[in-house]
Symmetry: C2
Subunit: 196 residues, 2 copies
Amino acid sequence: MNFLEERIIKDGIVKPGNVLKVDSFLNHQMDIQLMEEIGREFKRRFADKNITKVMTIEASGIGIACFVAKEFGVPMVFAKKSKSVNISGDVYVAEVESFTHKNTNQVIVSKMFLNNDDHLLIIDDFLANGCALKGLIAIANAAGASVEGLGIVIEKGFQDGGRMIREMGYDLESLAIVDAMDAENGTITFRAQEDK
Amino acid sequence: MNFLEERIIKDGIVKPGNVLKVDSFLNHQMDIQLMEEIGREFKRRFADKNITKVMTIEASGIGIACFVAKEFGVPMVFAKKSKSVNISGDVYVAEVESFTHKNTNQVIVSKMFLNNDDHLLIIDDFLANGCALKGLIAIANAAGASVEGLGIVIEKGFQDGGRMIREMGYDLESLAIVDAMDAENGTITFRAQEDK
């Protein structure tokens, strides 16, 4: 097990309905030393890429993306959720469905902060159905920026997002892939990943 | 001028209606080296406080609060905006009015992550009317936690929030206090602060 899988086993809580609560260290309260370790690990995994910018989506991706961007020495930009029906022409827009909240958000990135010279590393805390990542990829494509890689902290391997993103040809790295969870006895089964 | 005032003069954009756009380095795209410098500066200003946790509110406070928490070597917790009408009993709740979005959000913090042993440093990117800070203070009070200080990156000194929070007796430090802005010629007037 890597450091993240160990932490999930230690402090993650499995709830009915395939819910994995990691809000004591990842997405509500944040363990900053863990964030720094995650940043270093993504830097190691994408060390051969010439990254110019890290991109994520608000809110819980922001902290992680900050520490990844710190390792690469580049700026971070986060897509903002927008309720406005009138989106001005100076932003890239994507629709992102939320299964948690059962709604669709428009997410936007200002055209000032992405262009066709950018080589992006896209970061997020969770990957399940892949809607958020596909929205961020659509924004990158609209800007003409290249997506050099995608880094996810926890992938729900029993949902479709990871498979779809990999089949699209993207270099997707997930620090932990949860293949199964059992709320009755609290067990979590991780997918074996070759030693990266 | 301190490093932040200099950066605001260099890259901030004054828009009509007393709007200061700092989204190229602070709250949409983030300059990570600047975030680190902000973290060190708040550590310096609150060096005599025994901080156990940094608290902020999603979304744009998260990145800054992460780097402040890193300096203090403590966890960070962010209040989440919640649309749920049914808030469960395991969270602290506050109402936060947003003048930007002309609505009221409930913000919540899990009771697991705040208690009466906590000594909090509350961090946010902007202070205008003070609604967000007052919501965070209400949550701290509900938890019985002590608010050791509040650190703001940019305070709009011509709005009421800063004065109100200081009159309540809190130790509020703003790295830059904007007393006036002129959209016609782009000038920004900072309040003189004693050398901290």
